[in-house]
Assembly symmetry: C2
Amino acid sequence: MTRAAIVGAGMGAFGVRPESPKRLFAEAVAEALASVEKGMDARDVQEAWVGSTAFGGWQLGNTAAYLVEQAGLPGVPARRVENACASSGFALRDAAQAIRSGKVDVALVGGFEKMNDVSGLHKRYWLGVSGDTAWERMAGATFPGVYAMMAARHMHEFGTTREDLAAVAVKNHANGAKNPKAQFQKPITLEKALASPVVASPLTMLDCCSTTDGAAAVLLASERVARRYTDTPVWVEGSGAATDFLAVHDRPTLTTLEATRRAAREAYDEARVQPRDVQVAEVHDCFTIAEVLAVEDLGFAEKGQGGRYRGPVRVNTSGGLKAKGHPLGATGAGQAVEAFEQLQGHAGARQVQGAEVALTHNVGGSGATCVVHVYRRG
Amino acid sequence: MTRAAIVGAGMGAFGVRPESPKRLFAEAVAEALASVEKGMDARDVQEAWVGSTAFGGWQLGNTAAYLVEQAGLPGVPARRVENACASSGFALRDAAQAIRSGKVDVALVGGFEKMNDVSGLHKRYWLGVSGDTAWERMAGATFPGVYAMMAARHMHEFGTTREDLAAVAVKNHANGAKNPKAQFQKPITLEKALASPVVASPLTMLDCCSTTDGAAAVLLASERVARRYTDTPVWVEGSGAATDFLAVHDRPTLTTLEATRRAAREAYDEARVQPRDVQVAEVHDCFTIAEVLAVEDLGFAEKGQGGRYRGPVRVNTSGGLKAKGHPLGATGAGQAVEAFEQLQGHAGARQVQGAEVALTHNVGGSGATCVVHVYRRG
């Protein structure tokens, strides 16, 4: 098995983007190509995996072929990978596997979603259908409602407070303020977060991420060719994935995402690292409570202590879903962009000095799917 | 790179299936497990790839997690692969790659679609959105219309006749009559095919396949473990894939699917075979003209001679999309089921004696995506 490295990664700004899908995706691919230290010709790309949940209702079949054609890569074999909000995290896993098998030397991983200027049916509707349909959506349980149950239970079991949750939002908005690609680049105060209108008690508006438009792209290369493109490849050292029951009532607990724990174990084992070896982590904070669960389930904090976690791992330096914005299918690839920039030392005002090992954690639905990657600066 | 083999494959009947999606998919998985010569425990499955275009509008996100859970494989990492009607052919490609990389020893490839008892929006609507949207769908060009243009041009350039096209339907319905899983198990006459109502001239109703309900499942194993499951593994010797422009006006010709040619070349090269080495082929006959183009573009017949092709390769022994039925996302996996049964010698009345090498050819849209696999009896 050969190794796979990220040699380039880029994205346009996440947020309200009135441009067409093809323009958004082409922009991300161009940014990724431009980020390749020693340059890369688009024709070097041999195969593509594109994560997208719904594609904004425009081109619902053959979307991957459409996007690679429009991004200037006609003919490149491509497929769409759909796993709700974990779509492009799984696209990365499959692309890395193809490189490790020796079949492909240069692969594109893309992520895309358009949530803002599409018709009603193809907008918020899609979100609910990524959770359980029979027992949750049909009964009116939205994602804020499901995560609110997790938050309430975490408070009950472990004494987590609304201030603990709000502190996650404050931290991530402070990080987002340093990220020129983030949807929200303005810090918020704890008071403001706490005074925000309730969406689903105990979660307020500022506990929830913004589902929005965006695209991100990652260029992977095999060990054989990686150093043609960069002297600092970012090796994909570990990839872990798992699924869980869609309906939360089928799970033994509301305060652990078992899919995260299992995906993390696989990724750590493959990378031969421990949670303490990680310096930078992008975790799936679709809600503040989701970040609290993630830092516990990824092994950074003891179970129950996630609400009070302050390091040493620097979590969501990009601003996370919370401040960077959450274009469903683009989020996993967007997380890898941040990991790449941090490990290459190009994260600007967000740079974590001396970062050697990074992790990304991408969740679909309320934990039905999860994929974790561990990267090492090479 | 290790090799990947099919060690089990199964499907329920394609056709009008009022059962729920989960029941249909679970049936296919159970059939696949039951087909494993020396038996397989569902818990041996380590990872799953599920092809589906639209999933019938029920569970539009996290569909793969939903299906594996409902098929008795909770926790197994899974993702949905979408490439229009080539979805599960690409799922097979990605699963084989994961096995070849050494990461996975036993993988499930599933395919699923429900086209009959779903609401209007989520039914025929989906079909159009797998072709080009901006220039074709918005202008009213349906798939029958686009393939009718290909047929008309093929007639003009090469003298192909309506009888040539109708003969494809007659052959595939005769094959379908021997397949207990086919939607249509009744032979038709050339006269009946020619007298069928016109859908898009020169294509009649009996030139068109039936989009319908169905699921199929394939179990792949690595070289390391394959013989635990069967003494006759069916090796995936070659996998090829390509994309093309979605809009047919962007392509240099209407009478070749360039994606087929490129995918076939990759698959033949990897398998180190020539078209003449193939005995059995399942090709993507969404319309009779599509089979004519396929036998040419796969190298079985000279360009222009596909309408008169009668062998030696036995094409669509299952009945093809034409008679077996075409549940979009399930078709690629369904083709692999036929290749497996033919090479294991379990194809019953359809058995091609002495078959050693088989090929499957799965197309998305009007040729925007294509994936070809070559298999060898082990």
